[in-house]
Symmetry: C2
Subunit: 321 residues, 2 copies
């Protein structure tokens, strides 16, 4: 095992991705060699503050501050702010915990002073004692738009305010085509030390595709010598969290691990599916993607570390060690 001479890059959205990211942090001897390229397509401006839900979930999860009940937000939160916002007639559809608010206020203040999102994220993560590198996919503004039967919705409006109810017609990533990829991610992708590119079990459409929508990032991933390994976010035809399966049905494809593999297509070198989907392994392998069947449902920290171990072992195998 030579993991610790290697570096790593994970592509991640929020809750599901952060679980595997935490597993990787714990499974690696030196977690500072792990870079997590975070989706910023669901960032938004709310009450005048810049909210970065996926970065925050990653930070709180890796710092051990996350609320294990919800997956997002912080443990031990109070809600005095939201109660007061409601009394003032403000918008309450997006919950901001009192402690969580410190992150948004600090970030918004620093962005307004001219700092980049990368710089702010690195500073906040360092203050929280996080060794791994959480890096926004870009410092430019990319916004995921959910095209629904009822019209276009900004991601958080679709996700939180409308509770994923509107029927999805498609997605677009406003600003994605013109966004400049984060240079630190490009450096990592070009580095010969890079052991693997790990696509976390996040929603392909709203967590991973915004990252891949940045042309410079997609090209660099395709050009990288490191294998690309994804973990299926669909288990037994269902998403463990969120609307991935619903979105697949509405787009006319079967919610399955196979659909995820097809979606990523040639990008993938390896794919990890759950034990309950073992029957799909042969079909996916027939397309030229190596498949590993593993326990992918991460109920506790042990599961997260075990799945990370499967990912790292898979990489060893793909690299022919």
């Amino acid at each position: 095992m030579t993991h610790d001479s290697q570096t790593w890059l994970a592509l991640s959205g929020g809750v599901g991705g952060a679980k595997l990211a935490l597993g990787l942090v714990r499974a690696l001897e030196d977690s500072s060699r792990l870079m997590i390229a975070a989706n910023t397509g669901d960032d938004f401006e709310h009450l005048g503050l810049t909210i970065c839900p996926d970065i925050d979930t990653l930070m709180y999860t890796l710092a051990g501050l996350n609320n294990p009940e919800t997956g997002w937000g912080r443990a031990g939160e109070t809600a005095t702010f939201m109660t007061a916002v409601a009394a003032l007639g403000g918008e309450t559809w997006f919950h901001l915990g009192d402690g969580d608010l410190a992150t948004h206020v600090a970030r918004s203040h620093r962005l307004a002073a001219g700092e980049t999102l990368s710089s702010v994220t690195a500073a906040l993560a360092q203050r929280l004692g996080i060794q791994a590198d959480i890096v926004p996919m870009t410092d430019d503004v990319v916004r995921t738009i959910v095209e629904t039967e009822g019209g276009d919705l900004a991601l958080q409006h679709y996700f939180v305010r409308e509770q994923c109810v509107p029927r999805v017609l498609g997605f677009r990533y406003a600003g994605g085509g013109d966004a400049v990829a984060n240079s630190r991610i490009l450096e990592r992708l070009a580095d010969t030390s890079l052991g693997a590119i790990i696509i976390c079990p996040s929603n392909p459409y709203i967590s991973i595709d915004p990252i891949l929508a940045i042309p410079g990032l997609r090209r660099a991933i395709e050009a990288s010598a490191a294998p690309v390994i994804a973990v299926s976010p669909i288990v037994g035809g269902h998403a463990l969290k969120g609307p991935t399966a619903k979105m697949m049905l509405e787009r006319g494809v079967e919610p399955s691990a196979t659909t995820v593999a097809r979606h990523y297509g040639d990008l993938l070198d390896g794919f990890i599916i759950d034990e309950v989907d073992e029957a799909e392994a042969a079909g996916i392998a027939a397309t030229g993607t190596e498949v590993v069947v593993a326990k992918t449902v991460m109920n506790d920290l042990g599961d997260r570390i075990a799945l990370a171990g499967e990912v790292l072992a898979f990489v060893e195998r793909l690299r022919g060690h």
Copy 2:
């Protein structure tokens, strides 16, 4: 008594002024006839938010949300935000309660969207069920600077961060000379219904002088037909709260009700001093200012209403009813 056909204008800073303002609200049959011109000289930008300490203290006091222990802030607060700010290495010298933060976030958001401070203040006060009109002295930026032996300090830096320790050399009101007086205050001053201009027992240098530093406001007060009545913030040589007496000593004048009366000078038609300062009444009256001796220390709501009653009775007398 014809109070209720009349309108009223109070000039106020924070804690002490807000106590009398609450008394006036309760003493008047129709508190919507009371306008409170609020000092905004101690407003400041903090963590990217616009904080208006005197407006907030007035709003919370009149809405019954204030913290009676401190005089500022809200009752029933939590401090989760500040704890999280500290963990992120942010500035913690100015305490922002979680519920209080809703006011700052809402205000900052609306100001950034182009609303005036007057409009934001009116909207927030209305949501809190306040009948009286809380009106910022101006929508322009005026900032009280405390000139100290250690250099110039923004008001909140002097007041909160430095705990009023630096020796005061003087004050200036940056932007005051060019600020446009709030038009609603000017209208009230020109209105023949105006019963009196009441200078609340606030700090003359840092709460009332910033208001009087706006040339248009000072001229309109001088030109108004209504009598100007002040309540002394100095009782028995001490300020009931804050650094008024200390500032007087450092500026080489005796901390006394007489010093306050001299400070306001010709502006005053009537002055209310505390019973313990009765010996000063004759001297002040000799300068042509009518004096009333009353209990001015407001320990409870009854005291606030009683002092407001003294003010209103004094007005009646001055107007010759």
